[in-house]
Symmetry: C2
Subunit: 131 residues, 2 copies
Amino acid sequence: MTRPGQLEIKIRLYCGDEIAMGPGKADLLDAIEAEGSISGAGRALGMSYRRAWLLVDTMNRCWGERLVETVSGGSHEKGARVSAAGKAVLTAYRALQQGAETGAAPLLNGSSLTVLMRDAPLTPGTGSRRS
Amino acid sequence: MTRPGQLEIKIRLYCGDEIAMGPGKADLLDAIEAEGSISGAGRALGMSYRRAWLLVDTMNRCWGERLVETVSGGSHEKGARVSAAGKAVLTAYRALQQGAETGAAPLLNGSSLTVLMRDAPLTPGTGSRRS
């Protein structure tokens, strides 16, 4: 995901001490919508079912409406979908990310950050000596 | 550092696969300037000397000029200071952070993100059931 010289902006929204929305949860919502289940979304993201389930549980506890609705039956999940509230939160979160990037971009271009950055880092250990 | 409902924006600048500047390195530069040494800065931040030294080494390898200048003698560090380049990079990084926050703020206020967020999360485990 990271390219050389890249700017990375990560946004997290907290509800108390819990992360109500962040990059991982937003990607999980996208994957649930695409895969139709929490287990499928977890597989698509290389995440254990338990991990995906815990992220969904956290989201559903942090917001006034459930972001993910599951169809359960017996001991197995039958499927899951992102609720209307989930889609609204996801859209607003992506817009927030875009706003942050748009706000930061003009301060990056031409600044000391781009002028002084090397194309690639020097060899580890050399930063403590004269180069 | 985190308040309920808080928006957290973390900015990282990559040089190749290394983080050339981020929240931890920026705080370390501030601490080095305040304490006058890498070891003192590490102590002030509750960070081992080795960890602080590695962060300084990474910074000094990622930028065209050294961000931290050390005075060494024998086996011990005699002191360190943030260079003019380091101050320029730190100032530009803080401005970038401010720009991202300014760009994001209007998209947070009044959005689904603030309307739907609970004041506090529900009890763990309840997010998977009807509440």
